[in-house]
């Protein structure tokens, strides 16, 4: 095992050593939004189960999910979804070997950050 002989050898610098940059901040947001979407997924499944159970239980759950606190969670989840979707496509483009130049990566990063806000507004307007 690699861990056995590790001893007191120096470790590589951790995250807090580095000055935050656009690409590193967007990268950690990809993780945070991905993990955070667990909450949105739970709400979607709860809502579907409520609909399958019957009209009374559906009215209760639908009312809770569309209450002000529910809407706040939905707003956060929908933004997280839009961000994770757009930045995920950015990652897939990288996986194909394109867009690694710092200037390009910064441009696509700003486009993803701005686009996630625009897409969230469009989704709420469409709903």
């Amino acid at each position: 095992m690699a861990d056995v002989k590790r001893g007191n050898r120096p470790l590589s610098p951790h995250l807090q050593i580095y000055r935050p940059q656009l690409s590193s901040v967007l990268s950690i947001f990809h993780r945070i939004t991905g993990v955070g979407l667990t909450l949105g997924a739970v709400l979607v499944v709860w809502w579907l189960l409520a609909a399958a159970t019957g009209p009374e239980y559906f009215a209760t759950v639908d009312g809770l999910i569309t209450s002000w606190i529910g809407n706040l969670i939905l707003l956060g989840s929908s933004w997280a979804l839009c961000y994770h979707l757009l930045n995920g496509v950015r990652h897939l483009v990288w996986d194909m070997g394109y867009g690694f130049e710092v200037e390009t990566a910064d441009k696509t990063g700003i486009a993803v950050a701005a686009g996630s806000g625009v897409l969230t507004i469009l989704l709420w307007l469409a709903a």
Binding site: L48, L49, A52, D62, L92
Partner: protein, 126 residues
């Protein structure tokens, strides 16, 4: 003397014992989720806060039922794989890490199947 090729001898080794399988699965599911997310979320958002009958009518439609089932199956698969990597990266205690990995897998299976069951019940039984 081994008659295996060099490639065959190292295949499946590495820290996870499965090469690039996990990474590649995450790419396949993410590509599939681009259209599935768009097709699922828009009708879902429109039905949210509406009458019960509209939701029943939505998933009685075979196209929307199938989209929902695929979105839930691929989405929870993608979620399970993604959260697994986060746990592996940040949780170092062996006991806690194993417990969280187990919990993550069970949670994603349970909620994924619960959602699929709900959609199928609406689609088949109304």
């Amino acid at each position: 003397m081994s008659f295996k090729t060099s490639r065959a001898r190292v295949s499946g080794l590495g820290a996870s014992g499965e090469g690039t399988h996990h990474w590649w699965t995450q790419r396949i599911t993410s590509v599939a989720l681009v259209p599935l997310t768009i097709l699922f979320v828009i009708p879902f958002a429109r039905a949210l806060g509406g009458p019960h009958g509209d939701v029943m009518a939505l998933y009685a439609n075979p196209f929307h039922a199938l989209v929902a089932v695929l979105f839930l199956a691929v989405g929870f698969h993608h979620l399970a794989h993604g959260v697994q990597v986060v746990i592996e990266d940040y949780v170092h205690g062996k006991g806690l890490r194993t417990a969280l990995l187990l919990g993550n897998t069970m949670f994603c299976f349970a909620f994924g199947f619960a959602g699929i069951f709900a959609v199928l019940k609406i689609a088949f039984a109304g």
